[in-house]
């Protein structure tokens, strides 16, 4: 490229935009995608030639577009993936066996590089609740541990198997993992999906779609607990949509994942009065422990989505945990016009960060950012 004198830069920068009106996001996006008609494109180009700010926006957004994961599937493959998803149950489970590399990270521990695992599964995008089977892990995995597998499209499996996008997949260890050798099978279930870290370098495994497991009934309760549950049954009419109010005396728990179950139970407080408490089971309902959130609250609803747990009750008190109940924060449900009234009797979690609460006074409030902001329906 020909060298230009420094004065060239200053004269170039000296030119002001012909119009002070900046193209909106619609026009800039259309420009970046080359879908503007020539007349409009010329106008946007003329503005961009003079406006540093708008050039910066287009560059930033174009860079973000380029960072979109290479799915490895063009339109034909995407169509095949849709077809494949619909008819995959007709395929033999043994047809797509691939060797992939995975990075397994234990929460709170430094990442551990796993050289290779064998997978007996088909390809698709992992979803929460999916079961993923891996074998021959050369590193120890601990039952009950949360483990994260970072995934990228695999280029080792033969076409026309399609690949999914890069994702962080948080997995719970469901079965006792085998020792490093000889190879055995470990079942992992997807419990959370997060954007991938920039330096991840692993391949995707297709989870076998687990059948939807009905929530397990809790074990037999003591007479006192039955009495408490019966007392709550009349009032606890709103639960998360995943489980129903008790018909008899047992409260069906919310199934966050196969490892942790959540429930509302009745427990006497220090004055001997029954109030609702949040209970958690780590062993599929064999035993339960009370989660000490607040002595003053009569809890009436609990709901989960992956590791996110929401519990609410009297006086519109709402608690949230993002890590399966290890740490909790009390959330204020309010907007600029006022706060929620009544007891929280129903909680619905529609996705990560997206929660709806219903109160005894009929109010419905929605948050899509983990309870930071709320809007009343």
């Amino acid at each position: 490229m020909a060298e230009m004198p420094d004065i060239f830069r200053s004269r170039l920068a000296a030119k002001k935009p012909a119009s002070s009106e900046h193209p909106d996001a619609n026009l800039l996006a259309a420009f970046a995608e080359r879908t503007l008609v020539e007349r409009e494109r010329a106008g946007v180009v003329a503005h961009l030639a003079e406006c540093t700010d708008c050039r910066g926006l287009v560059a930033l957004a174009s860079g973000a577009a380029d960072a979109e994961p290479e799915v490895g599937a063009h339109i034909a493959r995407r169509r095949f993936r849709n077809w494949f998803r619909e008819y995959r149950w007709m395929a033999s489970p043994a047809t797509a066996c691939c060797v992939v590399a995975a990075v397994l990270v234990h929460y709170g521990e430094p990442p551990v590089q796993v050289r290779s695992v064998s997978v007996s599964s088909k390809m698709a995008e992992p979803r929460i609740g999916d079961s993923l089977k891996i074998t021959a892990t050369p590193v120890p995995l601990t039952l009950g541990h949360k483990t994260k597998v970072q995934t990228v499209p695999s280029n080792k499996t033969p076409a026309p198997v399609v690949f999914a996008a890069k994702k962080d997949v948080a997995l719970d260890i469901l079965t006792q993992p085998p020792p490093a050798q000889p190879p055995g099978e470990t079942e992992l279930r997807v419990s959370r999906l997060e954007p991938l870290q920039a330096d991840a370098n692993v391949s995707l495994v297709e989870p076998e779609r687990a059948a939807v497991q009905p929530p397990q009934p809790p074990p037999a309760r003591t007479a006192k607990q039955f009495a408490g549950q019966a007392a709550l049954a009349g009032r606890a009419s709103g639960f998360a949509s995943r489980f129903q109010a008790p018909a008899a005396t047992s409260l069906k728990p919310a199934a966050a994942n196969a490892r942790l179950l959540w429930s509302i139970n009745a427990s006497p407080d220090t004055a001997g009065k029954l109030r609702g408490v949040v209970e958690r089971s780590r062993d599929a309902g064999q035993s339960w422990e009370t989660v000490p959130l607040s002595e003053r609250v009569n809890f009436r609803a609990v709901a989960t989505f992956g590791p996110d747990v929401w519990a609410g009750g009297s006086a519109a008190v709402l608690f949230h945990s993002a890590d399966g109940g290890s740490q909790w924060a009390e959330i204020k449900v309010a907007d600029e016009n006022g706060s929620v009234s009544g007891d929280i009797v129903k909680i619905e979690v529609r996705g990560p960060n997206h929660v709806t609460v219903t109160t005894s006074s009929g109010e419905v409030w929605i948050s899509v950012d983990d309870g930071k902001n709320w809007v009343r329906e």
């Binding site: 490229m1 020909a2 230009m4 004198p5 004065i7 830069r9 200053s10 004269r11 170039l12 920068a13 000296a14 030119k15 909106d24 619609n26 026009l27 800039l28 996006a29 420009f31 970046a32 995608e33 879908t35 008609v37 409009e40 010329a42 180009v45 003329a46 030639a49 540093t52 050039r55 910066g56 926006l57 560059a59 930033l60 957004a61 174009s62 860079g63 973000a64 577009a65 380029d66 960072a67 979109e68 996008a165 994702k167 999906l193 997060e194 954007p195 991938l196 870290q197 907007d335 996705g351 960060n353 929605i366 948050s367 899509v368 950012d369 983990d370 930071k372 902001n373 709320w374 809007v375």
Partner: protein
């Protein structure tokens, strides 16, 4: 839509009152069938109103029916309907939007912010604006999705909005940094120097003349390269062309500019050798306060 809530600033029903289906342009019916609006409760009249609102926004009052048709047919209808349905609070639309765009939003935010927690904050902040957590004076929900017009893909629009939000946040942070913090960070504050402009005015004039003869697209390329410091790859992404195309064009443009500047200098009385020498002079040797001139020009 079953929910006829007015989206702040953009009425949900913009269709001309009193018109029947048959009185709209015939292609409107095809567009309605293609849009999939039915599944989100969007009526034909509502879509017609949206289309007319968009053509009013982008076309002048004297635009012909053909121009309006060309614009309408170029719109991303399915995404437009989804966005407008989300903006008016349709739950099915919102679930569909979440399924398709939630992870893309995070991925784009990560690419823009480069750092995980900042990316999350950026994406979550925009997510709230898209959902419409604020209300206008009349009580109507204010959702950013109501401003999507389907000119480009919804995904591309989301990236652009994210980029804008990121830039605004960065600007806000810069303004809040105090003098003391800047000193602690090691910022050096130079004493104002006397300006001594010794640049040959003929060189300035020749450069201005050469730049005025370039096309807008050529100036966009040279501004991206010389002012913004972008790489060829980045410029190629901005324009949607291959990097080698940008490289070839840049070589051609700068060679042409150089020739024109030299010609301009010779036209102003310099001989060829002096003109070449003028092009080689480093402005720092001439004590030209370039920053001051730029700030003076921009003020």
């Amino acid at each position: 839509m079953a929910n006829s809530e007015t989206i702040a600033g953009i009425p949900a029903h913009g269709a001309q009152p009193g018109l029947t289906v048959s009185e709209y342009p015939p292609y409107f019916a095809k567009l309605y069938a293609r849009s999939g609006g039915e599944k989100f409760g969007l009526t034909f009249e509502e879509l017609a109103g949206i289309l007319q609102e968009i053509s009013g926004q982008y076309l002048g009052p004297g635009a012909s029916a053909n121009e309006a048709a060309e614009l309408h047919l170029s719109l991303r209808l399915e995404e437009l309907v989804l966005a407008r349905a989300c903006a008016s609070g349709n739950e099915a639309a919102w679930e569909c939007f979440l399924g398709r765009y939630r992870s893309k939003l995070f991925t784009a935010a990560a690419a823009i912010a480069k750092e995980d927690s900042a990316a999350r904050e950026l994406a979550d902040g925009l997510y709230g604006d898209l959902f419409g957590t604020r209300r206008a004076d009349g009580g109507a929900r204010v959702s950013k999705l109501a401003s999507y017009t389907g000119r480009g893909s919804l995904e591309g629009w989301l990236r652009m909005v994210l980029a804008q939000e990121w830039v605004n946040r960065q600007r806000g942070r810069r303004r809040l940094v105090s003098f003391e913090e800047r000193c602690e960070a090691g910022a050096q504050f130079e004493a104002k120097q006397d300006v001594a402009t010794s640049v040959d005015a003929r060189l300035e004039q020749a450069v201005d003349e050469a730049l005025s003869e370039t096309s807008d697209e050529e100036r966009l390329l040279v501004a991206s390269w010389y002012l913004d410091g972008r790489t060829l790859a980045e410029i190629a992404r901005m324009l949607g062309v291959h990097e080698s195309t940008v490289s070839r064009r840049m070589n051609k443009i700068t060679a042409s500019l150089r020739k024109r500047i030299l010609r301009g200098l010779q036209k102003r009385g310099m001989n060829a050798r002096a003109a070449e020498e003028a092009m080689e002079v480093d402005v720092r040797d001439l004590l030209v306060d370039v920053r001051g001139r730029l700030q003076g020009k921009r003020a």
